[in-house]
Structure formats: structure tokens, C-alpha cells
Amino acid sequence: MSKTDVLIKELVTKYGKNRNSLMPVLQGVVQSEKCLSEETLISIARELELSAAEVYGTASFYTFLDTVPRGKNIIRICKTITCHMKGKDEIILALENMLRIKVGETTHDKKFTLLTANCLGWCHKGPVMLVNNEVFPEINVQKSIEIIEKFSKETA
């Protein structure tokens, strides 16, 4: 049994074998694997006794449940109006240059994926970005580069 299958079994045992557990199970897998591959979705469907189409239908609806491969760290920069007014464009540009990718892409070493997100709920302290589940409000170009450098060092 693969590592992912073990994880799925654990999650299903924890949350219960029913449809209501689907979101927590999908979220648990994404948390550790960063992506829901076709095989993973089929395994989840089998474990919860649902049709694979229904599991894919749910997974593909949600922005944070990625069905395409992502980097080990996912950067999400808020692009909604107040963060826009506070200069999120410069930050995106700086990180694009630093990581040598465009928004939506993943670096060659698979360390980072750069994405934008709709309102992250820090409008009074914009611009703001999420790296994985960690939040960084009131960033500027300099700070954002330092934060990503730190993550880069910590990621083997």
C-alpha cells in the first residue's frame, strides 16, 4: 500500500466513513501531498464508497483543493481591491523575478508555486500573502523577498 493510501485510510478512520467526511479527507491529503492526483481521488472514492466522479466533482470545485501538481510551498497573494491599492502588483512582480516564474506556475526545483487569491481578510493591513497556511500582513517588496528566502532555506 502506498504512503498516500495509508494516509487516506487514517483520515477516513478519523472522520468516519461517510460523505460528510469528504472535505476533511480531501483537505488532509492536500495538506501533505499538495495535490490530488487521479489515482488519489480514485482511492478516496473507494475508501468512502462514493463514485470517483462525485469525488472529482467536489475536489475540482474548490480553489484550495489542487488537482494539478504544485510546489512544496504555495504562495498566495491577495489581489482584491484594497491590497491592489496598497501595491500588490509590485510584490507579484518582485516574486516573479525572484522565482523566475509567472503567476500560476511552479519553480523548476518544485519548491514554490506562485498564485493570487481573492480577499484574504486583511484589508486593513494589506498587502497580504499566505504561504501555505501562514499569513503575512503588511508586506512590501523587501519583506516579501525575505520571507520567501526564509522558506527557500527551510525547504530541502
Binding site: N20, I81, N118, C123
Partner: protein, 388 residues
């Protein structure tokens, strides 16, 4: 109309009492009907934005015959410009859990769920700690109420109550047809009370100080105080608790930077109020209601960019289930881009307004229905900025 002036209040974030869950102890001595009457009497209306009377919602759910009922706290705070719920859950989660437990007692529910948006996952550890404390008390006093956390995964539409239930049930976050309303058929098709984070926190406040005292704040239509998330061109961005029913002019005098051109009241799905209407606009259910989002724009901002940003937001966040919203959002966005580029005449804006009006009637849920609010208010008041 009653004349209210801007008044700062400190109820929601006021410090905890030294005894944990003291308000619960006091409130649980009352019967469910007494609790519901207290909430009804306070005049509290839902703080998420729609403004349905909270006590009534509870009463309807209580009156449903069912062995299982649920309390759900909507913490899927996704409206652009709103961040008060995050702050409440960070600073005073105990008040929210108290409000949920009080609701559970009133309607006869044994389980409560906090549906937290995925963007706030970092709050989970501290919330779980507070749930542990709650459960200690729950056991000690035999409350028989349990609280669970469920996470969202980055879908704005899941803040719509029936989409939220779908998501909790492991489905795509697509809104259901109404009726039946959640009070009859909500989570797992059981009677459910679903309230906003701030509403539950306010219930705790009401049970603490009493409906009579709470009612002294605000106006006949808008009782009490409410948290405002202030952002944009303001020197004092942040969360401010204010009495309801103040004129927008006073708000701008207090929070503006002296050059305020417009205020977007109620987030992307709310109304844009231009400077010339500040004086006659009241913030409350008798005027422009708000879930708390107040985005302030000064004269250096292009309202075309603001509207463009909102329409991009709706286009991305539309669940795609009903055609008026899915296609309508896209066409409104394409439409203003075409007018800006000169490919369409300015009169095309009238056609677009009619489309927005059609969405208001034909869209299945609040998302598509409310796109007309920002669209029409910005087009009507800043027409030249959209065209040139």
C-alpha cells in the same frame, strides 16, 4: 427618522470576566422560550449582512419537530473588505462559542459546527484550545453541547448558507433552492440555525447585559452596535465598533482622509455611495445595510478599476450553477472593458444595467442577485470614469 450621531462602542471586544463561561451559567437558568424572547426583544438582526431577525430564526427552528437539530456558525468570511470575524475568532472566541451553546439550548440542538474559511486555517490551533476549555465546562455543568470545526477550501460562495451546508456534506458548494429554508432543512436536511460569527458573539453580549440595555443603542430598525471593517484610503484602517443608524457623512468625517470620493458600503456586493450622497445616507437597515465592510476611496482612485476588480471577483467566484450569474458576470466584465476601449458606445452601459437587473431577478442566490448593487451604483455615479 431618528437622528443618531457617530458613537464608538466597546461591547464585542470587551475583556472576558474572570470566571470562564459565566454568561452561560446565568443564561442556562432560563427556559428555551425565555432565551428566545430575550433575543427577539433585543431586536438583533443577523450581522452577516442580510439582516434577518435572529430571534425569529431561532424560534422557527425550535418549533420544528425533529430529533436532531444543528447550530452552525458561518465563519466563511469572504466578502472583500470584511475582516471582523477573523478578529473576533482571534480575540474573543469564547463569546462565539457561548452564543452557539445558548442557541443550542434554545432550539434543542446537541451539536454546533464552526465553518471556518480555508484562508483562516492558522486560527485552528487556538480555536481548538478554546473548544477544550468549553468542553470542560460543558461536562462540569452538563450542558450536553459539542462544538466541531469544519474548514472551507477557498470558495466565496460557501458563505451562502445553503452552499455552506452542501460543502459540509462533502459536495460542490452550489446553493440550494429556497424554500425550504435552513430552519426547516439545513445541514443533513435537519432544522438548522446558521448565524454569522458576530451574531453569536452579540448574543453573548445581549445575554450578559440584557435586551433592555442593548436596545438602548441604535434605532428602531437597527438595534444595537456593530463592528465595521474599515479599509482603503483611511488613516485609521481597522475594526471599529459603532452604534448603528449614523449618517455616512459622520463616518467619513471620522475615518476619511479628507479627500474621500466614495465609500463602498457592504463589500463588493454592497452599494457604492458617492460624496454628494454622504449626507442623506444612513448606515443601518433603514438606509444601506452592511455586513460591516466599509471601503473608502479618495479622489486619486479610478472607479473603473474598482468596478473591474469587483466584476473579476464575481466572475471567478460564481459557482457556475445558474446561467444568469455565470454568463452575466462574464458579460458585465467584458462589457465595461469594451466600452472603455471604445469598441462599444457609452449607451451600451444601459444594456449592461438591464442585464444586471435581470440577474437580480433571475439568479439563484445572493451572489448573482447582488452584482447589480455595485454595478448600478458605480455606473450611475461615476459614468464618465467608466467611459473615458
Amino acid at each position: 427618522m431618528e437622528n443618531k450621531t457617530l458613537k464608538k462602542i466597546d461591547l464585542i471586544f470587551a475583556g472576558y470576566t474572570s470566571t470562564k463561561y459565566k454568561v452561560l451559567e446565568k443564561t442556562f437558568q432560563k427556559t428555551p422560550d425565555e432565551i428566545i424572547n430575550e433575543v427577539l426583544d433585543s431586536g438583533l438582526k443577523g450581522r452577516g449582512g442580510a439582516g434577518f431577525p435572529t430571534g425569529l430564526k431561532w424560534k422557527f427552528t425550535k418549533n420544528q419537530e425533529s430529533d436532531v437539530k444543528y447550530v452552525v456558525c458561518n465563519a466563511d468570511e469572504g466578502e472583500p473588505g470584511t475582516f471582523k470575524d477573523r478578529e473576533i475568532l482571534e480575540r474573543v472566541p469564547r463569546k462565539v462559542f457561548s452564543g452557539m451553546a445558548i442557541c443550542g439550548r434554545a432550539i434543542g440542538a446537541k451539536e454546533g459546527y464552526l465553518y471556518l474559511r480555508g484562508e483562516y486555517t492558522y486560527l485552528v490551533p487556538s480555536l481548538l484550545k478554546e473548544i477544550e476549555i468549553f468542553e470542560e465546562y460543558s461536562k462540569q455543568y452538563n450542558y450536553g453541547f459539542k462544538i466541531f470545526i469544519r474548514l472551507g477550501s477557498g470558495a466565496y460562495i460557501c458563505g451562502e448558507e445553503s452552499a455552506l451546508f452542501e460543502s459540509m456534506e462533502g459536495k460542490r458548494g452550489e446553493p440550494r433552492n429556497k424554500p425550504p429554508y435552513p430552519t426547516v432543512s439545513g445541514y443533513n436536511s435537519k432544522p438548522t440555525v446558521i448565524n454569522n460569527v458576530e451574531t453569536f458573539a452579540t448574543v453573548q453580549v445581549i445575554c450578559k447585559i440584557g435586551a433592555q440595555e442593548y436596545k438602548k443603542l441604535g434605532t428602531t430598525d437597527s438595534r444595537g452596535s456593530k463592528l465595521f471593517s474599515v479599509s482603503g484610503d483611511t488613516p485609521i484602517a481597522g475594526i471599529h465598533e459603532l452604534e448603528l443608524g449614523m449618517p455616512l457623512q459622520e463616518f467619513v468625517d471620522e475615518f476619511g482622509d479628507g479627500d474621500t470620493k466614495a465609500v463602498q458600503v457592504g463589500g463588493a456586493s454592497g452599494h457604492c455611495v458617492p460624496r454628494k450622497q454622504f449626507n442623506q445616507t444612513v448606515i443601518g437597515f433603514e438606509g444601506i445595510p452592511t455586513g460591516g465592510s466599509m471601503m473608502v476611496f479618495n479622489s486619486s482612485r479610478s472607479m473603473y478599476n474598482v468596478l473591474h476588480d469587483y466584476l473579476e471577483f464575481f466572475t471567478e467566484e460564481s459557482c457556475g450553477q445558474c446561467t444568469p450569474c455565470r454568463v452575466g458576470c462574464q458579460q458585465l466584465l467584458k462589457g465595461i472593458e469594451a466600452v472603455k476601449r471604445g469598441e462599444r458606445p457609452p449607451s451600451y452601459l444601459e444594456d449592461l444595467k438591464r442585464l444586471a437587473q435581470t440577474m437580480k431577478i433571475a439568479a439563484k442566490c445572493g451572489l448573482g442577485q447582488s452584482v447589480a448593487n455595485p454595478f448600478n451604483s458605480i455606473i450611475d455615479n461615476f459614468r464618465e470614469e467608466i467611459i473615458y
